[in-house]
Symmetry: C2
DNA sequence: CGGGCTCTTGAGAGCTCTCAAAATCGGTGG
DNA sequence: CCACCGATTTTGAGAGCTCTCAAGAGCCCG
């Protein structure tokens, strides 16, 4: 771990970092930018957001004075950060996640937590911005990624669980699967087993 | 940090932990249970969920073979975990977050990440299970918690940002605020400033 | 005073939910 | 092996909520 954070950020948050100002609407970092810094809001407000190709936008969080943001597991930022109003932040060099000792306990748990943040954040985007059919497609692709046989899925959970995971009702889940079947995108071997017939089409549902 | 995780969990994940079996539908831990262990799924599937008083349920994640779960910032689990089907897990003693050195870099970042997980997870629940008015009420309470003057809110962001944060449209946000105003729950001093007139009522919208 | 942006309000369409019932599946006992 | 039972899943019809489209009102700034 090569980076450093101040030891007493409440008392002297600016001591070891660089102070920066951003005007209203200014971009602090964009999706894909390398994640070299961890940032602390001193004054103002920051929004963390993702823009989709179809014009939809998703805001994952607002950060106000005292909030830390910009931590990433990988080298690139997964979402952009923009100043909502005139904002002052301090940024510190980001810790290096590819730590010297690969099996270090710290690193191991860090990775589990980072993965959890990414997954939860992705789940929130799904819940906030997708239609029922889009949610279902995303869910099937998620299952597919876990499955050993790529195009053959076994759903361990009942429809009610899928519904509660996607923020839908059982009936809507069922209707969605029926529609995908009618479209020839999937084939239902049984209620809990299905085959993906047209992977590009399934992917295409969410662009 | 008093806990330990195996150094080579892929090769011998059971070495330093305790193996446990759970039958279908069995509860692994419930909301509020003390978070004493970190768990790794060996075989089967686990769902992490919250049950609401009105019968609604929210599933935050499914964990399959190889997934780690049960990490918590505080002493109590924030959601319950249940076996979707017959499942085998290994559990390890949880790291002690109230680490010996309070200002340890590791601990400092852990806390920021844990907070982020909790917030994102709460956001996902909001997006997945609440109606427009409930989302808006939750958002105002969130802002209120940040505000210095408890009942007087200044919204730094435009309606579009609120909409993109809550998974709604600008119009629905506007209509929601209008409804709260009609109900006498809030008063709009200007578009960006409002006063909470009836805090219990605002809280009551989400039980 | 004018122009652009933000916010509000209205009307209608569309999507998802609710309620209800039929169909299918899985397990159990005869 | 078959019949039965409960749980799960599917399907249908209608209601309700949120979105879309459109227009008007309010506000800031030049």
């Amino acid at each position: 771990m090569s980076g450093a954070l101040p030891r007493h950020s409440d008392q002297a948050p600016r001591a070891l970092g660089t102070v920066r100002h951003f005007a209203r609407h200014q971009t602090i970092f964009a999706e894909g930018d390398s994640a070299l810094h961890v940032m602390l809001v001193i004054h103002g407000m920051v929004r963390s957001c993702r823009n989709f190709s179809d014009g939809r936008r998703f805001i994952g969080a607002f950060y106000a004075s005292g909030d830390l943001f910009g931590l990433e597991r990988n080298e690139a930022h997964i979402s952009s950060a923009e100043a909502v109003c005139d904002t002052t932040i301090v940024h510190y060099p980001a810790p290096d996640w590819r730590a010297p000792v690969q099996d270090d306990l710290c690193t191991r748990i860090f990775n589990a937590m980072m993965k959890s943040i990414e997954q939860t954040s992705g789940h929130a985007q799904l819940l906030g911005r997708l239609s029922a059919l889009e949610k279902l497609a995303a869910f099937l692709l998620e299952c597919s990624a876990r499955s050993k046989i790529p195009n053959l899925l076994t759903l361990d959970m009942p429809r009610q669980d899928i519904a509660d995971y996607l923020g839908l009702t059982v009936e809507t889940v069922s209707r969605g699967l029926a529609q995908l079947r009618r479209d020839g995108t999937i084939a239902l071997l049984s209620a809990r087993q299905l085959r993906i017939l047209n992977l590009p089409a399934l992917r295409g549902i969410n662009d």
